[in-house]
């Protein structure tokens, strides 16, 4: 019964107007950009907003500019447009690859970079219809008493499945947030709380308006584990960006928040192996994706080594 439940639809022309609309709805509203994440959530009744505030019409969120040593990317820029921006491929190969690996081109043309970063965490036992979840019994995150994947667990093991946030984190990206309390800026890596109920450190009504990436040329790569070559979310995703011998690695697709690892000398095979082993050890995948947790855990290290190797072997 995938009928889209009814909600009020509001279209904002500016960030300020969007925040005002949000305040008018007394918090019972969701912001809408491309909708590729939000609409399925609403259909599954995982999100039940009274109103949806459409940000797509906000021109100031659609631009890509270079200023003061940063590339400022409006959150409304589509994944496809960002991928095809000449700066992305030239300066940020990890980001280019993660954008290219996101879903399929049709959805890249619809999905926005802001929406991609703020996509909800995913779980095979969570991203299901209300009828399905009712038959299963609600999990912790839906107000139940325990996790439905790990029996007895009082914590959520959903996966954060953005391909692009890990890549942006390796590039030391920051984000601008605008909300009822004004504007603030934070490191993208600090956006993640690790809390299954509230995975993002956003205040009520805050809008992610832009992503800022330091304008430094990097080498980089993104490795993604998935069953099919398109559409699928990552079961593990590893981004690497490097400047000189120093590299930053970020692991996504497993757990609630991307994990970062710094390599002082990515040319040192032992150091890379150590980081790979640590990343594998840190990862705590559970049986909430289509491949086994033990395998996904192992692949964290494998893909990390593979991504680093590719960056340094290709001499990008």
């Amino acid at each position: 019964m995938m009928v889209l439940p009814k909600f009020e639809y509001k279209k904002a022309r500016s960030v300020a107007e969007a925040v005002t609309l949000y305040k008018q709805q007394k918090g019972k509203a969701r912001y809408l950009a491309g909708g590729t994440d939000l609409i399925p959530l609403i259909k599954h009744k995982l999100s039940t907003p009274k109103a949806v505030i459409d940000l797509k019409g906000i021109g100031e969120m659609k631009t890509i500019d270079q200023r003061d040593g940063w590339l400022a990317v409006g959150a409304n820029v589509t994944l496809f447009d960002l991928k095809n921006d000449s700066v992305t491929g030239k300066y940020f190969p990890a980001l280019y690859e993660s954008l290219d690996a996101t879903s399929c081109e049709t959805l890249q043309m619809r999905g926005t970079i802001g929406g991609n970063i703020l996509q909800d965490t995913r779980c095979l036992e969570y991203n299901q219809s209300l009828e399905w979840r009712t038959a299963r019994g609600f999990c912790l995150r839906m107000g139940g008493s325990e996790c439905n994947v790990v029996k007895g667990a009082r914590t959520c093991f959903a996966n954060y499945c953005s391909d692009n946030a890990p890549a942006l984190i390796t590039l030391s990206a920051e984000v601008t947030l605008v909300g009822p309390e004004g504007e603030r800026r934070m490191k993208l890596g600090n956006l993640f709380t690790g809390d299954g109920i509230k995975p993002f450190a956003l205040e009520a009504g805050e809008i992610l308006t832009q992503i800022l990436i330091p304008m430094k040329k990097t080498k980089g790569a993104y490795e993604k584990l998935r069953v099919r070559d398109s559409i699928d979310y990552p079961l593990v995703g590893v981004a690497v960006s490097a400047a000189g011998a120093k590299a930053r690695v970020c692991v996504g697709g497993v757990g609630l928040a991307p994990q970062v690892y710094d390599l002082k000398n990515a040319g040192d095979a032992a150091a890379v192996k150590e980081a790979a082993d640590k990343a594998s050890a840190d990862a705590r995948p559970v049986a909430n994706g289509t491949l086994t947790p033990a395998y996904r855990k192992k692949m964290v290290g494998v893909l990390l080594k593979r991504a680093v190797k590719r960056v340094f072997a290709e001499g990008k």
């Binding site: 019964m1 399929c104 095979l124 399905w132 009712t134 584990l225 099919r228 070559d229 289509t290 692949m299």
Partner: protein
Amino acid sequence: MKDDLNIVGKRVVRSDSLAKVTGEARYTADLQFPNMLVAKVLRSPYPHARIAGIDVSGALKVPGVKAAISGFDSYGVKWGVFRYTQDHAMLHTDKVRYIGEDIAAVAAVDEETAIEALSHIKVDYEPLPAVYDPIESMEDGAPQIHDQYKNNINVHIHIDVGEVDKAMEKAFLVREDTFKAAGEAYAMMEPYAVVASYKNGYLDLYMPNAGPHVRAKALSNMLKLPLNRVRIRHINSGGAFGGRSEVAPGDLVASLLAIKSGRPVKLVLSREENAKSSRQVHDIIATIKTGMKKDGTILAKDYKVIYDGGAYSSTGPIATSIPFYVYEECYRFPNVRYNGYRVFTNKGIRGMYGCHGRAFLAGNEAQMDVMAKELGLDPMDVRLKNGLRPGEVTATKSKITSCGLKETILAAAEKTNFKKRWAKPSKLKGVGMGCVAIMCGFPMGFRSGSSCYVKINDDGQVTLVTGLVDNGQGNESMVIQVASEVLGVPMKDINLVCADTEVTNLDPGAYSQAAAFVGANAVRVACENARKQVVSIAAEKLGVKEADIGLKDGSAYSMKDPDKKMPISWVVREAFFRGEPIVATGSFFPNIDFEREWVTRPWGQMAGTFSFGTSVAEIDIDAETGRITIPRFTSAHDCGRAINPMAVEGQMEGSIQQAGVAAITEGNLWDKGHLLNPDLLEYKVPLACDMPDMDTIIISSRDPAGPFGAKEGGLTVRMNAYSAVACALTNATGELFTELPLTPDKVMKILERKKGVK
């Protein structure tokens, strides 16, 4: 058999293609009728529960609701394909047996109202212990799902030919392995939909179906309506693959609601409902023991195969048998024992599938390769040595007439340089071969044959009327092409009326691969009878002998003197003047042993003929991730003469995707009775980017009884493509697979097992 054919054998654009690619073609969900209501079904949240009561009165109070029903509004007649498998009331009043089972339903003026109304239906459940694993289900003390089936064993097929135990003792090499496979989703593009209306005591229905006549009969039984008052009409079908053969709970639901409300009712299942509550594919565990002579000759086979049947019988006896038969129709088994068990579990109902039996078939073929290797033999030679030849009889006494198995093996091997590559696989690259045969039709009683009525109209155009069904594979276009050949009338001038119980005659339907061999044969015979009438008048009018008359491009002409000719329309008008319009019937009934019965007498002629096929997969395995890629796939198919080679190739390519590439991606995932991937995001149907380069090779064996020599086209690839992939894995790793699909985690385990052995 004449070989100078005008259109049969030509690559023609299918008659249905334009409407389908432009979106003009209508499907059930597209239908709109005045005053039509929308139906929604309330489904069981329990895998197993007693129903203490159902109260739909609350739903009826919701404004806009026009009818609400439960099993208490039906006669409780239980459906079964066979008399001895009648166990499915479709709307039960005593208990529910799987999550998603139909309980009650409403019809309302719109979808939102119907959904709202469902929440006002009260069902009083008493949950019962449930069982999800077929092995556990067979154990003493397991929850009993149906009272009449002890140990939850729904069907036991026992076949025993020759002396298996003695032969095993004599064999030079004996090997036993167990293979598992997850059940698949049919994943038809069109989720199930049905439109029903009821007027003056007559029920009228549209739905995607594989056989309207058998569906009408089932509904007339369940609704206690005379058969002539249930009409199933023609509508385009968005795929079936075996999943639309039987009457569905939705048919009963929509019918009851239409009868109650007196208004047309449309029920369209969501993708999730389609996956959970319409029939899906069996999980299978196949234990295969093979005894071989030193030269690779198969001496004996001993099988134990367990099919997870879900909650009801469905096509149970057939589904429990088919994997065995398509294999014994391919190879010579002097001694063979087959024990197939279909076991009930508290999961959705499992039915027949075009690719049915992958654990069994891929297991057999992969094991054959391991044994060949141990004996120092080439697997292609072993297949040729054991493969059936024309004129041979299978273990269960089916005579093979036309048989191009050998040619398919040789063609596929030559195209891929199979022998050389198999003997020396490069690191984690493998090549594998899978073979199979398919019966073209099987015993379906008096519904096993087909008949056709043809008339030629006063403008020279033709109307064909046949019970034949097209589920998307191109059957409609196929029979138009056959008629065009016989009558010399262009395809565009032939109208087809098909699959409508009120006007068409019995036909096996798009079931058991009978459409080409049986359905098209009946069309051919009818058209030949009409042709005789045309030729007789034309010969008289043109003053030439009947034997000299040819029909082409809508004209009758003298083959000796082509200037002597007249339009067929003139012939038809003359026939009308004579009070003898050009009308004819024709029928075809295949040579089948109707004493054959799936459980009680599993021997005798299975079908009028058999098709054959060989697939070769080439795979690469990523040593670090276990991920398989399939750069190239080659299939050779003996489909008799291909009536439309382009359509056959399309079927072969679709089969490579649905069975071959699916062997590395597709499988249902369960958490007890909960289907974890009832959608097309997590159920991994291969995408265009996952497809290999494909070579399709048609081998024309020219079947003596098939229409223009044709047999079924495409299905052999659906039943051998996964074998080719499994065998390629064995070639690449030296290891047998243990479970399909071969997702990277499972492949990694195989690679680790291999390392452990070293």
